[in-house]
């Protein structure tokens, strides 16, 4: 559906935000993971036809979207990072506005979407009075209003409370059926439950691309758990990449991502996706499947 070929984005100040990025995507939910400044947002903006790549091509069903952006724009839903709304418009008015710009003429579709994102009871409230979570639900509704083939959501859960985050993930997972959803985040738990494919970016480069299971498998044997005396914990933390630490009566139970046994009392544990992400970014340089 979407073929990204050798895409590079170099800014005028010489900074390379995305470097020779290639990836072919099909239906499903792609979790785009990466630390802050990895180039995720720039990549998504290029896919969303908002900015052009310096070099490389992005093909949608074989059409170069850099040359014919409208081919994709008609089939695209995009929720940018820190999405805001016009304070003086109601949810219904705002959604109708975006629907009209996308060429959607069916008012029933707007009503359906408001129900899907659970905003139907607040459709006539001014969007300026909405909480962050409610605004994001309106944001996902506007992204879906044209029944897109590709949905791009950039850091959608930043600033949301845990309940809203779960709700947002569920909506995304429900509406993403039969579409390509690209979900960018640096919060691994956001994509843990919904992603069918994961791409990890660091410093503008694609450093891992696989299914979640394969990513976990590749991390197998590289995650350790050890009990460290409290007074030594800071030293261990400075020396190794730790994924989590819990203080207990017998010391600090710490999980370490490392390619060889870090401490004498360390033993293997099953990795989770967050640890796979840490492994990909910090330890392994290339994990393509």
């Amino acid at each position: 559906m979407l073929d990204i070929q050798h895409v590079t984005k170099r800014f005028k100040n010489g900074v390379v935000a995305v470097a020779d990025f290639s990836l072919t995507l099909k239906q499903g939910v792609l979790g785009l993971l990466g630390p802050n400044g990895a180039g995720k947002t720039t990549l998504m903006q290029m896919i969303a036809t908002i900015t052009l790549p310096t070099s490389g091509t992005i093909l949608f069903h074989g059409e170069d979207i850099c040359r014919s952006p409208d081919v994709l724009r008609r089939r695209l839903g995009y929720l940018p990072q820190d999405f805001g709304v016009y304070d003086n418009l109601t949810a219904l008015e705002f959604l109708s506005y975006i629907a009209a710009l996308k060429g959607v003429r069916n008012p029933r579709k707007i009503q359906e979407l408001l129900e899907i994102v659970n905003l139907h009871t607040e459709a006539h409230r001014l969007a300026g009075t909405f909480s962050g979570g409610t605004k994001q639900r309106l944001g996902i509704a506007q992204a879906l209003v044209n029944d897109p083939d590709i949905v791009i959501v950039d850091e959608p859960t930043a600033g949301l409370d845990p309940e809203e985050r779960v709700r947002f993930r569920n909506i995304l997972s429900d509406v993403g059926v039969g579409k390509l959803v690209i979900l960018s985040t640096h919060i691994v738990s956001d994509i843990e439950a919904v992603a069918t494919h994961i791409a990890v970016m660091n410093k503008g480069q694609l450093i891992a691309s696989s299914s979640p299971e394969q990513l976990l498998q590749m991390t197998q044997g590289n995650v350790w758990e050890a009990i460290v005396p409290s007074e030594q914990f800071d030293v261990v933390r400075a020396q190794y990449k730790t994924s989590r630490a819990v203080r207990r009566p017998d010391g600090v139970h710490v999980r370490i991502v490392h390619h060889e046994q870090p401490l004498d009392n360390a033993s293997h544990v099953e990795p989770d996706l967050e640890e796979a992400f840490i492994f990909a970014v910090n330890v392994e340089k290339s994990l393509h499947v």
Binding site: F11, K12, T42, Q45, A48, T49, I50, T51, L52, D70, R73, R74, L76, Y78, L79, P80, Q81, D82, F83, G84, V85, Y86, N88, L89, E93, S96, Y97, I98, A100, L101, K102, G103, R105, Q142, A143, I152
Partner: protein
């Protein structure tokens, strides 16, 4: 209905909904309506709307429509720009622009939609002005009310102005170099130049040449018609005095001639050209061209100038040490000190301007200080302090500032003192020179400094935008420079003719603006 047309209509609809739901719309309408009350004076007061050959024109529908229409076109040609030049910026600040950029809406559709959104809103202002004029006519008119005469004169006179203003606002916003505070100030000079070109055109005898394209306010056809009709060049429009001994002249109609229509239609060429440029320059919210994280675009000229002048902030280092021994104490004075330094650090342009103007003020003769340096200083001050309040709101700093001692209850006082210190940095040297040579002008400048300070804080607080402050002050300055026989406008001592009443009036306005800002601030705290 084609898809493209539907998209344009949607953009216009949203622009209209957004603007009409804002309190500022009501405020604008009230200001226009009350201004009409003042420019159509009661004849018994010795003042009139149109003065022809020292006599007055009878208040017929044509005369009142022409006089108030002229006010409307002048008002919209300047203030209209500041009223509507925020529609692209809104899409940047809310990041809705990114969503729009990812839709099939074309650049042309977007620009045209925004343009007509501006046109619709300014037309509403025009209709308010026209309706208020008709109401004034019912009160002070001396003939039958002819609504169609009002509608006709307002249409051919004001609509080209609205088109120009709507187009140039979009063009300035679409071009990153001209967006923001620099563009706001630059527009004032563009406007003044266009008015000047109209005057040149009039001196040429109003022949249809390239200058006709620039006559955005329609002075040429109106004055030309009145000169031809009454065979005199002594014409004045706007509340003005007249000789009561002279019988009033009658203006029953203004025939819609081909020449008149041609002149007004020719001024539509400029808006069309501007729209074309806006279409070419439009950044389509490309993050490489537009910065989304702050209120200004990356390529704004003022931002670039300030970046270039950044080394000038080193000049502040010796001053930063003054009182630093006590700077650990959380006093209001320390907060003021910090705010002043922050303002200057954010705007190195102001540091250079202060030094340059101080040197010039000491070296030029006193008449040049009056007429040349003081207006230039006023413009520099407007640029330096325009955002002293609004920057805290835009950057979302208010809650953070409130955690500092004293600032929450004394926010307005804090900002007033900071702004006054910045303003005095500019005016202190001229003030001292004037004090010894023209004390009356020195007093005007001192009160003017207070007026600018209170306006920057007051209007910034009330409107949450720096545009009203910039627009009102530049317009006042323009009027001051063009009305050398009217001491009432001499708010900074350009002529040194202000009377004690005028001094008192400006001091009172300053106090009222601070009180207004404080009340608005208190009401915001309650909600």
């Amino acid at each position: 209905m084609s898809e493209s047309f539907q998209r344009i209509i949607s953009i216009i609809r949203v622009e209209t909904l957004f603007r009409f739901r804002r309190v500022t719309a009501v405020v604008t309408f009230l200001i226009v309506a009350s201004a009409v009350y003042f420019i159509v004076p009661e004849n018994s007061t010795g003042r009139t709307l149109i003065q022809i050959d020292h006599g007055r024109a009878l208040y017929t529908s044509a005369a009142v429509a022409l006089g108030t229409g002229m006010f409307c076109t002048l008002f919209l040609s300047l203030i209209g720009f500041y009223i509507v030049s925020n529609s692209l910026r809104r899409d940047i600040l809310t990041r809705t622009g990114l969503v729009l950029a990812a839709t099939p809406v074309t650049n042309a559709e977007y620009i045209v939609g925004k343009f007509f959104g501006n046109v619709l809103y300014l037309t509403a202002v025009m209709l308010v002005c026209m309706t208020s004029s008709m109401v004034m006519f019912l009160i002070r008119g001396e003939a039958n009310l002819e609504p169609l005469t009002f509608l006709s004169i307002y249409s051919w006179l004001v609509i080209p102005t609205i088109a120009f203003c709507s187009a140039i606002a979009i063009t300035f916003e679409a071009f990153p170099l001209l967006s923001g505070r620099f563009g706001d100030v630059l527009f004032f000079f563009v406007w003044a130049t266009l008015l000047g070109s109209s005057a040149v055109f009039l001196d040429n005898g109003g022949q249809l040449n390239w200058l006709a394209l620039m006559d955005i306010v329609g002075i040429v056809p109106i004055i030309g018609f009145l000169q031809d009709h009454f065979h005199t060049s002594s014409i004045s429009i706007g509340s003005t005095s007249y000789d009561t001994a002279i019988s009033p002249v009658v203006l029953n109609e203004i025939p819609l001639s081909g020449k008149l229509l041609g002149q007004r239609c020719s001024t539509l060429v400029l808006p069309l050209a501007l729209l074309f440029m806006a279409r070419l320059w439009f950044h389509r919210f490309n993050p490489t061209k537009v910065k989304f994280s702050v209120r200004q675009t990356k390529k704004n000229i003022l931002t670039r100038v300030n970046l270039l002048l950044k080394p000038a902030t080193r000049l502040l280092q010796p001053f930063a040490r003054i009182g630093s021994a006590h700077s650990q104490q959380a006093t209001l004075l320390n907060a003021v000190r910090t705010d002043v330094f922050t303002t200057l650090l954010l705007s190195p342009f102001a540091i250079i301007a202060i030094i340059v103007f101080a040197i010039i003020s000491l070296s030029v003769d006193i008449s040049a200080l009056h007429s040349g340096v003081l207006p230039a200083i006023a413009i520099a001050i407007v640029i330096a302090v325009a955002d002293i309040v609004t920057r805290d709101h835009v950057a979302g700093m208010m809650n953070l500032l409130f955690t500092a001692p004293h600032l929450k209850p004394k926010y307005i006082l804090w900002k007033c003192i900071s702004a006054l210190i910045i303003v005095l940095c500019f005016t202190l040297i001229p003030l001292m020179r004037l004090y010894f040579e023209v004390p009356n002008a020195a007093l005007s400048l001192l009160i003017g400094s207070m007026l600018i300070t209170s306006a920057a804080v007051g209007l910034g607080m009330l409107a949450k935008s720096q545009k009203p402050f910039i627009a009102i002050f530049l317009m006042l300055l323009y009027i001051t420079l063009n009305a050398n026989d009217a001491p009432v406008f001499d708010f900074i001592g350009v002529y040194g003719k202000a009377t004690p009443d005028i001094h008192f009036g400006y001091a009172l306005i300053s106090v009222l603006m601070i009180v207004g800002a404080h009340l608005k601030y208190k009401s915001e705290l309650r909600t």
